[in-house]
């Protein structure tokens, strides 16, 4: 008997489902960052608004990267519905706390997919995911550094204004 399903598709249905869930999560992240950008803009934090707008674009790119992979492997990539995006934040600091929390959740999610791949010996998808694992290193670093500005600079006086100015300058280099 021919292995018809395998001929059509490199990834298993379980992996396909997980990747589609990840596509949705990246879309959610993208929308959330855009929402944060809006809040920052409205409250006068222009640099942070830019920072989050850029993050939003990056998340969209992650989404499309996963989307293309699922299709290239012969799977069914599903354009996700995104809802329940938080639009109001208690304060400037909360925005950054939420951002870090979201990135941690994404890292965990990739770890889970990786574990499943390992279980199935899907080395092809594991190799594909390596890019994302490395990306998460940078994403978490940047989110954590941004939050640390609140400790280093402090929110009193012109503190928030100072923090806002520094957010955009955070970069990550491996060396």
């Amino acid at each position: 008997m021919k292995d018809l399903m395998r001929i059509k598709c490199l990834i298993s249905q379980d992996i396909e489902t997980l990747l589609n869930q990840q596509i949705k999560k990246e879309a959610h992240s993208s929308s959330l960052y855009l929402s944060m950008s809006s809040w920052c803009d409205q409250n006068g934090f222009d640099f942070s608004a830019d920072y989050f707008a850029k993050q939003s674009e990056e998340e969209r790119m992650h989404q499309l990267k996963l989307f293309k992979y699922v299709l290239d492997m012969g799977g069914n990539a599903i354009s996700p519905e995104v809802n329940g995006i938080k639009t109001d934040f208690a304060g400037f600091r909360e925005v950054f706390e939420d951002a870090l929390e979201a990135e941690i959740a994404i890292t965990q999610s990739f770890k889970n997919i990786y574990a499943k791949c390992q279980n199935e010996q899907d080395f092809v998808t594991m190799e594909f995911l390596n890019w994302f694992l490395k990306e998460q290193r940078e994403e978490e670093y940047k989110a954590r550094r941004a939050l640390e500005l609140f400790e280093v600079i402090g929110e009193e006086g012109t503190g928030r204004w100072e923090i806002d100015k520094h957010v955009n300058k955070i970069t990550y280099s491996e060396q």
């Binding site: 008997m1 399903m5 249905q13």
Partner: protein
């Protein structure tokens, strides 16, 4: 009817239950679902879609909702076939499809071991 143009002897029985059977044709690279009085042809993609559609039906809601008929239309875009099924039949079709996909998995493992390992 599809039945008339395919040689039943060339079909491989992938999985059967009391309610139905699913066959594979290596010649036509497709599947035949014998269920609910229908003998319907599917390709890989549409069979996967059928499984998903059936698995997504909320059977509890179907039984508990008194404002709705106890039947559910099972089909999807691009599918030539429509099933009108009650809750029991949906469970039966689900069982048939899940059994079939388990056999696909098994066949995949066997194919890997027998034909794909370069010694």
């Amino acid at each position: 009817m599809e039945k008339a143009c395919i040689n039943i002897n060339e079909l491989i029985n992938v999985f059967s239950t009391k309610q139905g059977s699913i066959y594979q044709s290596d010649k036509l690279n497709c599947f035949f679902v014998d269920f609910g009085g229908k003998f319907a042809r599917y390709n890989c993609l549409s069979l996967r879609k059928l499984k998903k559609v059936v698995e997504d039906i909320d059977i509890d809601a179907l039984l508990l909702n008194t404002h709705k008929a106890d039947f559910e239309l099972v089909t999807f875009n691009g599918c030539e076939h429509i099933y009108l099924l009650n809750a029991c039949e949906i469970v039966a079709l689900k069982e048939l499809l899940q059994g079939t996909f388990t056999m696909f998995k098994l066949n995949h493992l066997i194919s890997d071991c027998l034909h794909r390992l370069v010694v």
